[in-house]
Symmetry: C2
Subunit: 334 residues, 2 copies
């Protein structure tokens, strides 16, 4: 329609310099009039990469903590900004399927979540030298890219905070036993943070494991109140389900924070929606998703330009925001 060859059109499409202004204009006009857009797949076929990344977001996570799923928003946004194609899969993927995603060039890289201390996916991808980044991290992080909250420090910080306020009898409401057995990073690390804090402050260890739903957390709370009447604070590791703790405390007529303080790890949004608003260690999930995607795409671009890949490891320090759920304990004698 513009009376030129395909290669000239290609040049215009890719903003090449070596096209006469007059020709470029003519071609551009034809493009506009036809509403022409180059076929993405043809491009990607010859380019040998898909300009797409995938977030492997296990539906199980969604079910459990799904109030925190801003990961997705963050990752999608970062991906879009860099002109990549954002994909997300909720099914659990087998090793076969995972490799297939790379080999078929469906995606250039993936973001992994729910990382275990020993994680076969990580081993597989690392060994095959396939690009990926993690939200979370395994035991051995040599040469791997990740972004993760420092869960160990997070629990430590919560204990430090409460102890500084004068609390001495603090319960830790940890992740379910299953998560520990599986070796889920955050479960194990929060548990370790607890143990260290106990030792550091010379406290009596009070810990109970619970499923991450409100009812289970409520039951755990009842148990704690019965077993430790002198309790003045409860620490949990997951925001939304902490509503169960609050409900149980109400039920027993325990005022928050006057009689019992409550802290958790959660997004600020979740902390703010609870009543009372929870003092928390911030879990910035949108930011984490955003950074994970950015990191992955940086990595892919480096690979594309044959640069030596930078190993990026982001460990987010614990940051406490004081809200309405914590206060110094009432003095026994006063």
């Amino acid at each position: 329609m513009a009376g030129v060859s395909v290669s000239t059109v290609s040049r215009v499409l890719n903003d090449r310099m070596d096209v006469a202004d007059k020709t470029r204009h003519r071609v551009q006009e034809a493009i506009d009039r036809l509403g022409f857009a180059p076929r993405a797949h043809a491009r990607r076929l010859v380019a040998h990469h898909s300009q797409a990344i995938s977030l492997l977001f296990p539906a199980s996570v969604a079910a459990l903590t799904s109030l925190d799923l801003d990961f997705v928003i963050g990752a999608a946004t970062a991906t879009g900004e860099r002109d990549y194609f954002f994909n997300m899969v909720t099914e659990t993927v087998s090793g076969e399927r995972l490799l297939h995603m790379y080999r078929s060039r469906l995606v250039d890289g993936v973001i992994l979540m729910q990382i275990l201390l020993q994680d076969w996916r990580v081993n597989l991808l690392a060994q095959q030298r396939l690009p990926f980044v993690m939200i979370g991290r395994p035991h051995n992080t040599a040469g791997l890219c990740y972004i993760d909250l420092d869960f160990e420090a997070a629990v430590g910080a919560m204990f430090d905070f409460l102890v500084a306020q004068g609390h001495r009898t603090i319960a830790f409401l940890g992740r379910p036993q299953a998560a520990l057995t599986t070796g889920l990073g955050m479960a194990v690390r929060t548990q370790m943070g607890f143990k260290q804090a106990i030792k550091r402050h010379g406290l009596v260890p009070i810990a109970v494991q619970s499923d991450l739903n409100a009812d289970a957390m409520a039951q755990a709370t009842y148990y704690l109140l019965d077993a430790y009447p002198e309790l003045t604070a409860i620490i949990t590791t997951t925001g939304p389900a902490t509503v169960g703790v609050i409900r149980a405390l109400h039920q027993r007529g325990k005022a928050i924070p006057d009689e019992i303080s409550v802290m958790t790890i959660s997004t600020n949004r979740v902390a703010d929606i609870l009543i009372p608003a929870l003092t928390n260690v911030r879990f910035p999930s949108a930011y984490i998703g955003y950074e994970a995607a950015s990191m992955l795409i940086r990595r892919l671009d480096e690979q594309l330009n044959n640069l030596s890949p930078r190993i990026e490891q982001i460990l987010i320090p614990a940051q406490i925001t004081v809200r309405a759920s914590t206060a110094p304990p009432k003095q026994q004698g006063s």
Copy 2:
């Protein structure tokens, strides 16, 4: 490596019947040994479609109501189940960009959200006969596919419920004026539901518009309490921000539900995380996302097989779950 031609490999890959068992075995073995996977883009290039759909998820929604973003999970899951590639974009897309997605064959269809009564995107895509489905719906739905909660009926149902309990002075805390002006479907329809309910029950209309954040909702609540001391119930249209209403009521020493009842439209999860748990009209966002994606893919498959496209329109009826935030009003005289 198997000593056969590419076409034979292609046949094995696609499970064609016309391959000798012996040959098939040999080829399959080579495939396994090489870890070979057919290039997705080459396939899609010749197939003339991308086997991908996109959820246009405006980041603004995320910011506002983002506790309800199970849409994404639902849509991604449905898409995966049908072996499509799920994409999501959070940037607001121009008409140009939207058309580009189709023309470049990046995606076969899209899911639109935040539909306005008069929506240029809908008009554009419908006119171009490009496949899409909506979460929400415009004024004129002839020939269009959508899934939407019946917001008008939802507000009506909440009024009916409260009136049946004996409430007569009920405030409606609607969407912000900006949303009404823009013509956002759910904003306008909830407002209409309110007006009809008022007329139906012969109530005094008490309505105030508010931004969808907790602070604005709290301010609105203060205003309502001051202006209508005899108020016995408040209806809101969005779950998470309703925490602002609850806070304001606490602040004023109004007991829920003994002195004031509160109802909203929200996911069950959000209703359950608030204290007290909110009586709500269920907004099944994961289900909506799931159905939207399913619907779209059905449509694409029909188109692929040259079937006459079925127009699917799902209007979800209002379904109330009674929780702890509502009760009959205290009798004045007793």
